[in-house]
Amino acid sequence: MSTDTDHSHALDRLVSPARRELWYRSYRRFANQPMSMVGLGIVTVVVLAAVFAPYVAPYPAQVGSFTDFANAYQPPTVAHPFGTDSAGRDILTRVIYGYRISLLLVAVVLGIGVPVGVLLGLVAGYTGGWVDTVIMRVTDTFLALPPLVLALAIASAFEPTLEVAMFAVASLWWTWYARLARGLAAGQRDEEYVQAAELAGAGTPHVLFREILPNCLSPILVKVTLDAGIVILTGASLSFIGLGVQPPQPGLGTMVANGTQYLPGKWWISVFPGFAIFVLVIGFNMLGDGLRDLFDVEVEQ
């Protein structure tokens, strides 16, 4: 038997061929969409600023229970680009630290919700039968609760703190991933490569995590990115009504809420934190849309 001739580039035979080329191509395709690059830029800048907040923020000391009433209600100046609030704290500094809290919320909520939801969804979709029915009915029950209302209930039943807010949001968020993963897994259960792996003797864990999961990652990643914005909004909404981040901690939603009483005269107190929420949410959405387009092309090919 002779070997089929290979026409791929000679260079590729030398170094880890496929993966490198795949990444490079994906990057080129992604970089060709200005919107997604803007989204990626926003998210990167915000994440870096939040991580290195103590070094980036102009007045790290003014984050919490700091007061300097002499400097209160300063409109935006060079020294305070976003102005100062009722206690004289630099709003830019507080926004950067606010991002920290928002991103922490995203990390916790999605860090719990995604693995739990995906695992349940994969098992339900691949196994089918009564396992599927039980898991999905429980999911449906959770889905039937309006998230903000349930979060309100949990938050008001316990101490209205950031930790409770995170737990409240996380307790609902997995459901969407369970649904998504279940649909993807059920679609792949009858794919021939799954059947072929089963015929080759592969066990359930192998099929779930090595055959099915890798083919579900793209849509899950897109959803994670788009969801990050929604989690931020939800957290900000909870904080806005006083059930999330408690003063003097710098929650973006809390800051918007505090500023409302000074509108419209001292607009900068709530407008800048509000705008900060808007920018980050839009950034995640643009990034998510870009990723989705990228993966769609991949699927077509």
Binding site: M1, S2, T3, D4, T5, H7, S8, H9, R25, R29
Partner: protein
């Protein structure tokens, strides 16, 4: 090549700009269809057949496609026509039958509505919305068009045409959809029918019926046809002349019988030798390798990496075209200066010898 060919394509080339660089797909394609002639382009998957017909009918979006060359249809330069003129031509003087009978019919309209629209408006240069609406709802004109559709459905031997005309495409079987598409293509009595593997997506027995139907209607109307297929048997059954395409180049052309008795290009010979035989005559073990990557095609002759005769000449320069009489030519360096040309039997022997050599290598 006579001067009054109905379709005359010369120097056609098509490329695509993609993320992986420029793909040089079709090149140096010269082909012609005489009046009343049935011509097929035969090639395997990825040989550029569909791209060629799409370039001829103007169905490629430019960009990403780059099309060059001349396409003359009945004296008109198709490449020069405006979008509107093209649309008038397609469906009127140019009929098209596509490969996929499901996706070519709109699922939300009945077969009758779609075909009657074609009968009534196909090729009409009167494109205003108001006049469309007026004529669309003019009872007598519509009824006449519908009558014409029914007649055409009967002609393509559609079972129970009165019921089919009011059915939605999803209610029809694959074979019936294919018949409806053929009827649609024939409604305006086109001068040239361009068919892309009609029926090949269907079962063998149904495919066979579609082919004999096509053969009948073509003969009856003395129509000119350009058909593409991957199946040499189909080409033999239906066509007067065959073009063999490989790697986006036409490598050989000859009257149908000549292709099967004295194919000249090693690719054609390899193809013929690879076809399984009802008579049980042993087939060669196929041709090594696969169709070229168009972003990085082989140098010289595009077939050389798979050719059992390839030598340095084949690798260094594009092969020349050699004519054999009026109607046949081959593009292979073996034919230059009337040198000894490979025969089908010799190619088959070499292909089989290649196999044995490779096997003994593997065993070692």
């Amino acid at each position: 090549m006579s001067d009054d060919a109905l379709l005359d394509v010369s120097g056609l080339s098509v490329g695509f700009e993609g993320f992986d660089g420029y793909a040089d797909v079709v090149g140096d394609v010269d082909l012609h269809v005489e009046r009343g002639e049935v011509v097929t382009i035969v090639g395997e998957t990825g040989c550029g057949k569909s791209v060629t017909t799409k370039a001829i009918t103007g169905l490629l979006d430019e960009p990403p496609a780059h099309v060059e060359g001349d396409v003359e249809f009945d004296g008109m330069d198709l490449r020069e026509l405006s979008e509107a003129e093209r649309e008038d031509l397609n469906g009127d003087r140019l009929g098209m039958v596509s490969q996929n009978p499901l996706s070519s019919l709109n699922p939300v309209f009945t077969v009758g509505e779609q075909l009657t629209d074609t009968a009534q408006f196909g090729g009409s240069d009167d494109a205003g919305l108001l006049s469309y609406l007026r004529r669309r709802h003019s009872g007598s004109e519509r009824a006449a068009a519908r009558e014409r559709v029914l007649e055409m459905l009967r002609e393509v031997q559609m079972p129970d045409p009165e019921a089919v005309i009011d059915s939605y495409p999803s209610e029809l079987s694959g074979g019936m959809r294919q018949r409806a598409l053929i009827a649609q293509a024939l409604l305006n009595e086109p001068d040239l029918l361009i068919a892309d593997e009609p029926g090949s997506a269907l079962d063998v027995t149904v495919h066979d019926r579609i082919l004999s139907l096509l053969t009948d209607v073509i003969a009856e109307r003395d129509m000119s046809v350009l058909m593409i297929t991957h199946n040499l048997g189909v080409a033999r059954q239906i066509s007067d002349r065959i073009y063999i395409m490989y790697g986006g180049r036409i490598v050989e052309s000859a009257p149908t019988e000549e292709i099967f008795t004295e194919a000249r290009h090693p690719y054609t010979q390899g193809l013929i030798a690879s076809i399984p035989r009802l008579s049980g005559e042993p087939m060669a073990g196929g041709i090594d390798g696969s169709v070229p990557e168009y972003t990085d095609p082989p140098s010289g002759c595009r077939f050389h990496p798979r050719c059992p005769y390839a030598d340095d000449d084949c690798r260094s320069a594009a092969p020349p075209r050699t004519d054999f009489g009026e109607e046949a030519h081959a593009v292979c360096v073996r034919h230059v200066d009337g040198g000894p040309t490979p025969t089908i039997a010799e190619t088959k022997r070499r292909l089989m010898a290649d196999d044995e050599r490779a096997e003994s290598e593997v065993e070692r």
